[in-house]
Symmetry: C2
Subunit: 161 residues, 2 copies
């Protein structure tokens, strides 16, 4: 099992991992022959700077502040779509909000633990869960392509508060 759970819910900052994340995004774009433009990098940073998932319009507002000019929805949605295709960002669809993927290169399908109190989201990559689902899909002859697992509850920090 691989997770950023304690970093998200008990760690003090994420700065260090953001630097690494940008590096990773850059090299991924390089190998995929994709253009990590200034705009896309900005959106990536905005989403990654938060352990709370951001709605597209929140990203839009932050982007607008950072660039000191007005930004229209398609600008944001296109950048997010680009990042999602590369697996750098995921949508938490129950929240209509977006969060950075800490393990973009993992081949296992990850899932999210979402704290109802502080709204932060941690990612977990578990081969056990993954295998169990794969096994069920196999038995039913369902060719699974993509999965989205969202667990809502209370994180370790908020529970003790």
């Amino acid at each position: 099992m691989l997770t950023n759970y304690s970093l998200v819910f008990q760690g003090s900052n994420r700065q260090k991992s953001i630097v690494a994340a940008i590096k990773h995004a850059e090299s991924l774009c390089m190998t995929e022959n994709q253009n990590f433009t200034a705009l896309r990098r900005l959106v990536f940073e905005i989403i990654w700077e938060n352990s709370v998932p951001l709605g597209a319009y929140e990203v839009k507002n932050i982007l607008s502040r950072k660039t000191s000019k007005s930004v229209d929805p398609p600008t944001v949605y296109r950048a997010i779509e680009f990042l999602m295709k590369l697996g750098l960002v995921t949508k938490i669809s129950a929240l209509n909000a977006f969060i950075g993927c800490p393990f973009p290169s993992s081949t296992r399908s990850n899932f999210f633990m979402i704290c109802n109190e502080c709204k932060r989201v941690a990612e977990v990559s578990s081969s056990e869960v993954d295998n169990e689902i794969k096994s069920i899909a196999g038995k039913l002859s369902f060719a699974s392509e993509r999965q989205q697992i969202e667990i809502f509850g209370t994180c370790v920090s908020c529970k003790t508060d």
Copy 2:
């Protein structure tokens, strides 16, 4: 493991299960002291008649046709909210659409297999997956309350076509 997979993806109709579902909904409302009004019953039927999840506005249009009068969004959303609270209907949040829960009384947390081709959705209730997730949550001291698992892929029928 409990599933309506073959009923949904290989069965010819769902009529039989709808009758049982309505009976179940009625008695559930009875014991919960909730009012299974004509409107709520209609919305329940509309959603249950489909193995494809329906958007709220699709429900609205069908409802409007069935009652021969115009229906406003809050009417539909309120009925859906009511049914969801009772566990009779779930939202597939990746689709912004709603589907009946075939195992409303199951204490296990269920998940959905969604065919990208025919759009039908089957529900699976697996204690293995459930336990695995519970175990991870336990290790991380995450008090999980609700979970939403959506598996997208190709069903057995569409694969062979």
